[in-house]
């Protein structure tokens, strides 16, 4: 009987958590129009979230491009297919690695700072003070950050892929000596703008929504103590990473399973 009760209470707790997050997300969406009217807030948040993440994203993209090109070369050269190096790097970056790795880095770089910032605002009772002054903290604090995250993430992901492809070009054409014309033309033959690139962009936008919403939720619902903020920051990284990886599988299955 006790076991049954435990099962019931656990199930209810999980459902309550999901419902709480869903209501938070809907409230966040409702606050978007109000914050779009003050676009200056969004712009300064894009600077904090997007511009400041640029260095780590570009550096990782370049490194991934280099390494992917080198490793693929060793595998491909045994089959005499080294020419299609660029195509493999391009497809894996644009379809999978670009959006996913960017989202993981984004959760670590921007998500944590969002959670910590909002958590400390809550701990310092700034959010309660706003509510007292009849300012909706969702429209003033959360929604601009959400929009900024959703705008920044696809831009960062495509920059990651672009820099990765350029890195692969440096390795393939510069180091290995693959013909530059072949390197590009095989990619142009094999990569479809809508099916590959378009789906990659859609993926990164979905990941942007996930990462930013999770970070904001964890910050807003944190316990207003130093430990609470620390836990919330950790949970942001864990939850958004797992959500991104799980969602990536679902999206890949939906996007690339048909026609082929």
């Amino acid at each position: 009987m006790n076991l049954l009760q435990l099962l019931g209470s656990r199930t209810l707790a999980v459902l309550r958590g999901w419902g709480h997050a869903a209501i938070f997300f809907l409230d966040l969406l409702k606050a978007i129009p109000a914050s779009l009217r003050r676009f200056g807030l969004v712009v300064s948040q894009i600077h904090a979230i997007g511009n400041r993440s640029l260095v780590i994203i570009l550096a990782s993209g370049l490194a991934v491009g280099f390494v992917l090109a080198l490793q693929m070369y060793y595998a491909l050269v045994t089959y005499g297919a080294a020419e299609s190096l660029g195509l493999i790097v391009n497809l894996s970056l644009v379809r999978e690695l670009g959006p996913v790795v960017t989202a993981l880095l984004f959760a670590g770089r921007a998500g944590t700072s969002l959670t910590a910032e909002i958590g400390l605002m809550k701990a310092g009772e700034q959010i309660a003070a706003m509510e007292l002054m009849a300012i909706d903290p969702r429209a003033r604090v959360l929604a601009p950050r959400f929009i900024a995250g959703v705008i920044s993430m696809p831009l960062l992901a495509i920059l990651f892929s672009c820099v990765g492809i350029l890195g692969a070009w440096v390795v393939a054409v510069g180091l290995i000596g693959i013909d530059a014309g072949n390197f590009w033309s095989i990619q142009q033959n094999g990569v479809d703008v809508w099916r590959d690139l378009g789906n990659g962009v859609v993926k990164s936008a979905v990941f942007g929504i996930i990462c930013t919403a999770v970070a904001l939720y964890q910050g807003y619902e944190t316990e207003a103590t130093p430990e609470g903020v620390a836990y919330a920051t950790t949970r942001t990284v864990v939850t958004s990473s797992l959500a991104v990886l799980g969602m990536d599988f679902v999206l890949t299955a939906l996007m690339f399973s048909t026609t082929r």
Binding site: V94, S161, Q187, Q188, V193
Partner: protein
């Protein structure tokens, strides 16, 4: 001043992202090679399409002039019905023939169009009459072995 510089930096960031998108789309994807301008459709029926896939290229003299949009099977004649989408700039005579070819020995398969000499051109939606099916490697090897066996049988018979 500080606010203005932040706005400039954000503008730069957005511009950089869009530039990356345009670069990848133009230089490393197929937006330029065949952008789906004005096209018309042709239909070709093959006894065997081999490993042909939708979105494979349509070439004439080796140059890509279109794409395969759909492949279906005709339930009455049991033939493969291949729908081709060809650039409007290339009009083909009525007695054009279509063949399924392979790029290299093991490469991707594509449809090659060989123009005929008819004065009238194919209109949109027309069916190409003369087609040549894909070469299936297994059949080819089987035929070769069969011929070889027949030859050696004949040679043995001549000896006796």
């Amino acid at each position: 001043m500080a606010k203005r510089s932040i706005e400039t930096l954000v503008g730069l960031f957005v511009l950089l992202g869009l530039a990356a998108l345009v670069f990848v789309a133009l230089k490393a994807a197929n937006l330029t090679s065949f952008s789906g301008g004005d096209t018309y459709t042709l239909v070709a029926r093959f006894d065997n399409i081999g490993g042909l896939k939708a979105r494979a290229p349509v070439r004439t003299a080796g140059v890509v002039i279109g794409r395969i949009t759909a492949i279906t099977a005709d339930p009455k004649t049991y033939q493969g019905v291949v729908t081709l989408s060809v650039d409007k700039a290339y009009q083909f005579p009525k007695d054009t023939s279509a063949q399924i070819l392979t790029a290299g020995l093991l490469g991707d398969q594509y449809v090659g169009l060989v123009p005929g000499g008819d004065m009238a051109n194919l209109a949109a939606g027309d069916t190409i009459k003369q087609t040549q099916s894909a070469v299936v490697l297994e059949n080819l090897i089987g035929q070769f072995l069969f011929n070889k066996a027949a030859d050696s049988g004949a040679a043995d018979g001549a000896k006796k």
